[in-house]
Subunit: 257 residues, 2 copies
C-alpha cells in the first residue's frame, strides 16, 4: 500500500507540474482491486478523513493548490465501502460510496448507502461515479439534472473476454453519457494485471457533445492524459433554438422505478 500511495503522489506531482488543476486517480488506487479475503480487504482499508492516504493527499493538494479525486477502500467501523474522495486546496471536501458493486466486490464491500453528492469547485460542479456505476444510465442523468458539469469516474475496468466482439465499449458508454447529458466526463482507469485480472487502461476525457478531448489512453502503459475544459459549456443544454436535451425530456411519460 505504501508503494501505491507513493505512486499516486508522484503522478499527482507530475500532472500538477503539467498544469492540471483537477486530477483524477483510479478506483481503489491504494489498496489494489483483487482481494482474497474479507480480512485482507479490511487490512487494505482506511479511515476518511483520518487515514494515511487522505493525509498525504490533503498535504499535496494544499501544497499544489489543486483538486484531487481518488478511489480507496473506506473503513467505517466494521463496514467497508468502495469510495472516492474529493480533496481541494483547503483539504478534504467529501466522498462518494459506490452504489453498484461489480462481481466479487459484493464479498468485500457494502453497497453505497448515501445519495450521490455534487460538489462546487471554482471550475464548476463536480459529481463522482465509480466504474460499474456507469452501466446505469440513471446515474449520469440524475447528476446532470442536479446540475453537474463534470462527471469524474475513477475506475478499474477489467479486460473483458468479449473484447474482440464488443469493441471499445467503455469509450462508447462514456461518450454516450456525455453527449446525452451534455456534461464533461473524466474517467481514470488502471493498467496491469493483479492476481490474474488484467485491467484495460483507456482512460478518457469527453466533451459535452460527445467528442473525445483526451485519450483513450494506452491499454497497458501508465500515462497521464490532460484536457483543458471550460466546464461552463455544460450549462448550455440547447442543441439549437428548438431543442434542449433537458427541457425536451418527457417526464410526463417516464415512469421509472
Amino acid at each position: 500500500m505504501e508503494e501505491n500511495r507513493d505512486k499516486t503522489l508522484n503522478f499527482i506531482e507530475n500532472a500538477a507540474s503539467q498544469g492540471a488543476k483537477l486530477i483524477v486517480l483510479p478506483e481503489l488506487c491504494v489498496s489494489g482491486y483483487v482481494f482474497n479475503s474479507r480480512d485482507e480487504a479490511l487490512k487494505s482499508s482506511e479511515l476518511i478523513p483520518n487515514g494515511e492516504s487522505l493525509k498525504a493527499w490533503d498535504r499535496i493538494c494544499k501544497e499544489k493548490g489543486i483538486y484531487l479525486i481518488a478511489g480507496l477502500a473506506e473503513r467505517d467501523n466494521e463496514a467497508l465501502y468502495n469510495t472516492s474522495v474529493l480533496i481541494g486546496p483547503n483539504g478534504y471536501m467529501g466522498k462518494y460510496r459506490k452504489l453498484h458493486l461489480w462481481f466479487e466486490e459484493k464479498f468485500f464491500f457494502e453497497p453505497g448507502n448515501l445519495s450521490p453528492p455534487l460538489f462546487n469547485t471554482p471550475f464548476g460542479r463536480v459529481a463522482m461515479m465509480i466504474c460499474y456505476d456507469m452501466w446505469f444510465p440513471e446515474i449520469p442523468r440524475i447528476h446532470s439534472l442536479n446540475g453537474a458539469d463534470l462527471l469524474v469516474i475513477p475506475t478499474n475496468w477489467p479486460e473483458h473476454p468479449t473484447r474482440e466482439r464488443v469493441k471499445d465499449i467503455t469509450d462508447k458508454i462514456i461518450v454516450t453519457h456525455s453527449c446525452l447529458n451534455k456534461v464533461f466526463t473524466a474517467a481514470c482507469d488502471r493498467v496491469g494485471t493483479e492476481r490474474g485480472t488484467t485491467f484495460k487502461g483507456r482512460s478518457i476525457i469527453t466533451g459535452t457533445d460527445g467528442s473525445i478531448l483526451a485519450g483513450p489512453a494506452s491499454r497497458d502503459k501508465e500515462e497521464i492524459i490532460i484536457a483543458e475544459c471550460n466546464l461552463m459549456d455544460s450549462r448550455i443544454k440547447s442543441t439549437n433554438n428548438l431543442n434542449n436535451v433537458i427541457w425536451d425530456r418527457r417526464s410526463d411519460i417516464y415512469h421509472l422505478t
Copy 2:
C-alpha cells in the same frame, strides 16, 4: 409519395426474399422529412389504419407472412404525429407516436401523447422508438424494464456539422443502450439529401452485449442489412453469477423526475 410507397414495397419484397421476418423502414418513409409548411405536412399525412400506405403494407405483410415497422406522418383529425406502425401477418397491430420532436418537427407535429407500447410477436417483445427519442436514456430503460427484447428505431438522422469531431455518435448511443439494457436494437435510417438536409445512413443492428450484428450501413447508398437474432437472449440480464443489469439497479437512490 406514391414513388416512396412503391420503393418501400420493393425493399420489403427484397428483404423478405432474403429471409427477413421482421423488417424495419425509416422514419417518415413515405412523406419525406423536410416540410415547407403545415399545409404540405398535412397533405403528406395518412390515416391509421385506413391510409394508402397502411393498406399496401398490410397486403404485403399478409402475403409474405412478415412483420413490418415503418414510419409515417399520421393524421388524426387536425393533428399530425410522427408515428411508426407495426404490421404483422394478420394485419395492423399498433402504433407509436414520437415523444421527443427534433427541430422543425415541432412546427408540424404534435408531441406523442400515448405511453410507449410493447408488442408481442412470435420472436419476442418489440418496442418502438423514433430517432431523437434515443437521446433520452429513459426510453430504452423503460422499455427494457417493461420486458422489451428488441428496440426498433426508424430514424432520419441528419448529418451533423460536428461529424468530424464527434465520430459515429449514433452508433455509440445505440450500442450503449443495447449493452446497458441487454436488449437488441435495429435502427433503420435513410440516405440522400432532401431540400438541403443530408441524411447519414449507417443503419445498425446490435446485440445484447453491445456487439454490432449488422452495419453500420453505407452513408450514402441505399442498402439492406440483415442479422439473425435469437431475441430470447435479451431475457438474460445477468452478466455473471453476482451481477444483473436490472437487479443491480438502485431504485432506492434514483429520484428521476
